[in-house]
């Protein structure tokens, strides 16, 4: 491995677009097939050319392998990813390859590091961008149906959604975590978990319109009533979007007392009659049929209770149909059909009263336990690792600190950059694999796959041999994960 100088230009988004091959197949009508294009300031002409090129590449490569369409195209300066989420609908994202300056014969020349644009990570980011759209808007096809096949209706929704989403993708910080897309679970004892589970059951019983409930504490998952696939998308929305945007509000909000909670999604204050705040529609796709629900989130101390409400179901005993306009996701002026809404301020008042009656004792018990756990936690682990279990999507990570500074913890960036490649290599090699990579600076990166578990560890051991490193990793597995069975 070669230690690289830091990039003079980081990975960046060149373009991002959605097109549909059903439209604009006549010459001169090409612009019709472009459903969304970023950057918006690009000229009509360049949009058509870029989309046309992508279409051509896919069609050309398709002649060699029609089963698996082309996934990405690497050029000297860019890497373009393709994804066909639904028949005839294509998404593409082009990444500018990071650049380092190299001095050659006294002249500084740019060197493009295409190996640092990991195909698995960025393709995963592209797919997630589709899943997020589908979570809030539904499939492209279903949106088209909703707007009576008026393609402009779909276009405006794509525009509303992606114009903001694209800006939140943080491509320069992409890492292994984007590829594995895991969930962080709260370490919790059995009894407190059961208490939370019972609280959720009680909530679902008292509010039959609450179809699913997700309980998080300190942004870590405790209980999910969603199917795994939906949970993955939802968790990503929470951690990359909702929680970061809410954090400062909590700090400034004067009415916050330790006892009180508030709706993160829902009415900002139930005493105000008209202001329902944001209550997004979401569409769950993991079940046999898509389920359209409304998302309300209540935050109480460190706990976050996410309630997926079926608006067609009467939410409570007393409920007057109350039509109001509301917005979707973070699009403030977007008007959505309100025909199914039954959520009234009275409903929210009751819901808040319910939560304030039943949740605080449970949350306080968890808080007490967490405080004890932190107190007794081993100080500063001497090794850094990423653990991922594909079966329950559990992820643990002491290497990559999110978001911002991803190279802290004394781990060289080179080691981190290696992780996505190791991830991809593991999966190409079988079900039980171990790869050890030595870096030039005494660092070792060991990746281990044991059935559905992945384990990446970064070690710094001077002049260690491969054997010693393997033993060290085995020792770590035994001490850190003594409650699970690593098949070697």
């Amino acid at each position: 491995m070669v230690t690289k100088a830091s990039f003079t230009k980081k990975a960046s988004l060149v373009n991002f677009f959605v097109y549909c091959t059903r439209y604009g197949q006549e010459e001169g009508d090409e612009y019709q097939k472009v459903l969304y294009y970023y950057p918006p300031e690009a000229s009509e002409d360049s949009k058509i050319r870029t989309v046309g090129l992508a279409e051509a590449v896919i069609r050309f490569t398709g002649t060699f392998n029609c089963e698996h369409p082309c996934e990405y195209l690497t050029t000297k300066k860019t890497k373009q990813y393709f994804y066909e989420p639904e028949p005839d609908f294509w998404m593409a994202m082009t990444i500018g390859i990071p650049v380092t300056e190299k001095v050659k014969d006294g002249v500084s020349v740019p060197e493009y590091c295409s190996e640092d644009v990991w195909s698995n990570v960025y393709r995963s980011i592209l797919i997630q961008s589709y899943e997020m759209f589908r979570f809030f808007m539904g499939t492209f096809e279903s949106v088209l149906t909703k707007v009576s096949d008026d393609v402009n209706g779909l276009k405006s929704r794509l525009e509303h959604f992606y114009s903001k989403y694209v800006l939140t993708m943080e491509l320069e910080h992409a890492s292994l975590l984007d590829a594995i897309h895991g969930l962080i679970f709260l370490p919790l004892d059995r009894q407190n978990f059961l208490k939370i589970h019972c609280l959720v059951n009680l909530l679902e019983e008292q509010y039959p319109c609450a179809r699913h409930v997700v309980f998080l504490y300190n942004e870590m998952l405790v209980w999910s009533g969603l199917e795994q696939k939906d949970m993955q998308v939802f968790y990503r929305y929470l951690t990359t979007n909702l929680f970061p945007s809410c954090a400062p509000e909590v700090m400034n909000s004067g009415r916050m007392t330790p006892q009180a909670g508030r709706f993160l999604l829902g009415p900002p204050d139930v005493k105000e009659e008209e202001n329902f705040g944001k209550i997004p529609h979401v569409i769950l796709h993991a079940g046999p049929t898509p389920e359209e629900l409304q998302l309300v989130i209540y935050k109480l101390q460190n706990a976050c209770i996410c309630i997926f409400i079926d608006g067609t179901c009467r939410p409570g005993p007393v409920c007057f149909p109350w039509l109001f306009l509301w917005d979707i996701f973070y699009m403030d002026n977007f008007i959505y059909p309100t025909d199914t809404l039954q959520l009234t301020m009275d409903f929210f008042r009751k819901l808040e009263a319910f939560l304030l009656t039943h949740a605080p004792p449970v949350v306080e018990d968890v808080t007490t336990q967490q405080a004890k756990r932190l107190h007794s936690a081993a100080p500063d682990q001497h090794f850094k690792y990423v653990y991922f279990n594909r079966t329950n999507l559990a992820q643990k990570n002491t290497v990559i600190i999110e978001p911002g500074d991803r190279s802290s913890g004394g781990i060289p960036v080179e080691a981190l950059r290696l992780l996505p490649d190791l991830h991809s290599d593991l999966h190409h090699m079988g079900t039980r694999v171990e790869i050890a990579a030595k870096m030039t600076n005494d660092y070792w990166v060991v990746a281990k796959l044991s059935d559905s578990r992945e384990f990446y560890v970064v070690l710094n051991q001077k002049s260690a041999s491969l054997l010693e490193i393997t033993e060290e990793v085995q020792k770590l597995c035994r001490s850190q994960f003594n409650n699970i069975f690593f098949v070697d």
Partner: protein, 653 residues
């Protein structure tokens, strides 16, 4: 289900009923006097002063007698000694006469005992034991020993047959006595003395008085045992104009150490004639004018001022179940009724003695609050108590009619609190329960009924959860699962280890519902305890839910005693190299039963010659290390694989 709840017939409507076979005796009349002895539970029908017969009837068959005796004037009372050998009777104000029972007949020899004080009047007497009798006079208590001998004419000496053991002097206005608690309440003007009667001794406890000034007569007092406690019940009246309104029943608890202490107040608010019975630790107040009865349970929580607990009736007033007597409807709540403790009702007019019974299943529809109902039922004894409780639990979880998780949680906590107390008392060592004072054990029920009913996990499984799961097999409602989770939480709250069959049922339910991700979360947080049977259950789920396999292996690993099983699983999965590595790592734990044949067989079935080659070579090396020879020993039965190896790779490979 619903129809069962709302259907009404005689059986389920009435909570109280009289026994079907009352003891019958000749009704009281001018020539027939009737006496009832609470101690011996015997009715004495005395015709013509005994000359034409004394008929003694009792619920105990052996205590039925027919005697004849001389008519020596009107009788004030008759009482047989507990061993049925001596009949004591009172004809005069200052003496008690005795007649021995010989061969089921009264001896003609009568002896008598006068009370000590010249001017004392005997208010009554009590057989304390077979040979001890207590006289209660207006001036005190006199305790006698009766010398019993087959008296013949020669030793006939009336005066010497009783020996005074003890006297206590006090002013006695009236007294009440309970044979069950061996306690007597003596009224001395405005104060009361509890007196404990023990064989050989009579103990007077410190006096106490009621807070209010009104006069109390013996009609307003009942002595009973309630939840093992020696209790005195006072009916407290208040005059509303000329009408007496019973406002409350005040219960004092009597112990030898502390004397009498006011402990409960039962709120009544009825006017007119009332009578008290105590059945199965419940206080039943019969109200004659309205022909209904109120039931109180002092075990139920009530308002408390720190000393005294105030109780509301358990149900609204309910009538006793209509009954037939001699082919025609029996008059209930007759003015001729007299109630005796604990559960006896006598109608002197018809000559009947009934025991009052509870029809527990009927209470289910009279107490709508399910938590209160369960609290009520756990205090009950009798054959129907537990089945009724389990039925109520079943109904509480049933979809649509259940009271909801909030109440259910409290019900489970109540039951498991008592379950925990029971476990502490009995099987602590066997179950390996965490010791008391472990972290966060919630306060255990302070007041545990003395015949505490315990609903353990197998009761809950058999009669509640399993029945429900079977009944709602097709719809698989989530609230049954929620209830099971709630039950697990409650068990955990009281540090009671959950048993395998409960978890198994929960897993079945989750699997039927394809809620695998939820199941995985339960496993992840160790809600499902580790055990070999559980690991096997999970392994069996693999075809439906692949990750169950991984979780099962984790579980076996954590158990630390299941290395053989892990090895078998790896081999059956053809993870032969992994199996060898695992075996080497877990060295020592199963070298003795090491069978190279298994590895070779799996390697061969696997179909990869390279793996077979490696495994074979590895085992040869192992043999070399162990025995200095690469050969397998005959007992390992590996010949067939050795031949196969040579066939595949040649003899010198």
């Amino acid at each position: 289900m619903k129809t069962m709840m709302t259907s009404s017939n005689d059986e389920t409507d009435y909570f109280l009923n009289l026994c079907d076979d009352p003891i019958r005796f000749e009704p009281a009349s001018a020539i027939n006097s009737v006496f009832y002895d609470e101690c011996g539970k015997q009715v004495f029908a005395v015709r013509s002063g005994g000359a034409t017969g004394v008929i003694v009837k009792s619920p105990v068959k052996d205590n039925n007698h027919t005697f004849q005796m001389e008519d020596k004037g009107s009788l004030a009372s008759l009482k047989l000694s507990p061993d049925q050998k001596i009949l004591a009777l009172q004809r005069h104000k200052n003496s008690v006469e005795f007649l021995n029972v010989v061969n089921n007949e009264l001896s003609s020899l009568e002896y008598s005992q006068q009370c000590k004080g010249k001017h004392s009047i005997i208010l009554g007497y009590i057989w304390v034991s077979a040979r001890e009798i207590l006289f209660i006079t207006n001036n005190g208590l006199e305790f006698y020993h009766v010398r019993f001998a087959i008296l013949s004419l020669s030793v006939y000496a009336e005066k010497q047959s009783l020996k005074c053991l003890k006297t206590l002097s006090m002013n006695v206005a009236w007294y009440e006595h309970s044979a069950i608690t061996d306690t007597m309440l003596v009224a001395t003007g405005s104060a009361f003395h509890p007196v404990l009667l023990c064989p050989g001794n009579v103990v007077r406890l410190p006096k106490f008085s009621l807070d209010s000034q009104h006069t109390v007569t013996e009609r307003d007092v009942a002595l009973a045992q309630i939840y093992g406690e020696n209790s005195v019940l006072f009916l407290k009246h208040q005059l509303h104009g000329s009408v007496s309104v019973t406002v409350e029943i005040v219960i004092y608890t009597v112990t030898r150490e502390t004397g009498a202490k006011k402990s409960h107040v039962l709120k009544v608010d009825q006017s007119g004639r009332v009578a008290i019975n105590v059945v199965d630790n419940l206080v039943i107040l019969h109200h004659q004018p309205s022909q209904t009865s109120l039931t109180f349970d002092v075990n139920l929580p009530g308002e408390s001022d720190g000393y005294v607990i105030y109780h509301e009736p358990v149900t609204f007033p309910l009538p006793i179940k209509p009954q037939e007597l001699d082919g025609s409807p029996c008059t209930l709540y007759s003015t001729m009724w007299v109630a005796f403790q604990p559960d006896v009702i006598i109608d002197a007019k018809t000559g009947s003695l009934w025991h009052l019974h509870l029809n527990l299943p009927a209470i289910v529809q009279h107490i709508t609050n399910k938590l209160k109902l369960v609290q009520f039922l756990v205090g009950r004894g009798g054959p129907m108590a537990k089945s009724t409780l389990l039925r109520v639990l079943y109904l509480s979880i049933s979809p649509e009619i259940g009271p909801g998780m909030c109440i259910l949680a409290k019900i489970f906590d109540l039951l498991n609190g008592m379950y925990r107390v029971h476990l502490d008392k009995t099987v602590q060592s066997q179950m390996g329960l965490p010791a008391h004072g472990g972290p966060k054990l919630p306060p255990l029920p302070a007041q545990v009924p003395f015949h505490m009913m315990v609903c353990d996990q197998s009761d809950m499984y058999m009669h509640v959860f399993l029945t429900l799961v079977n009944e709602y097999k097709n719809t698989c409602p989530t609230n049954i699962r929620s209830a099971m989770i709630e039950y697990l939480r409650s068990l955990g709250q009281f540090h009671i280890p959950v048993q395998h069959f409960i978890i198994e049922l929960l897993i079945d339910n989750l699997v039927t519902d394809s809620a695998f991700y939820q199941l995985h979360q339960l496993l992840q947080y160790n809600v499902i305890p580790d055990s070999k049977p559980m690991a096997c259950t999970l392994l069996a789920l693999r075809s439906m839910y692949e990750p169950a396999h991984q979780v099962a292996l984790d579980m076996l690993k954590r158990l630390g005693t299941a290395n053989e099983e892990i090895l078998e699983i790896l081999l059956s999965n053809f993870q032969i190299i992994s199996a060898i590595r695992f075996m080497e790592e877990a060295e020592g734990s199963f070298q003795s039963s090491f069978a190279p044949k298994k590895f070779l067989e799996a390697a061969l079935t696997n179909g990869n010659p390279l793996v077979f080659h490696s495994v074979f070579k590895y085992l040869q090396m192992r043999n070399l290390n162990l025995r200095n020879s690469p050969e397998f020993i005959p007992s390992e039965a590996c010949d067939v694989y050795v031949n196969k190896f040579m066939e595949m790779f040649g003899a010198d490979a």
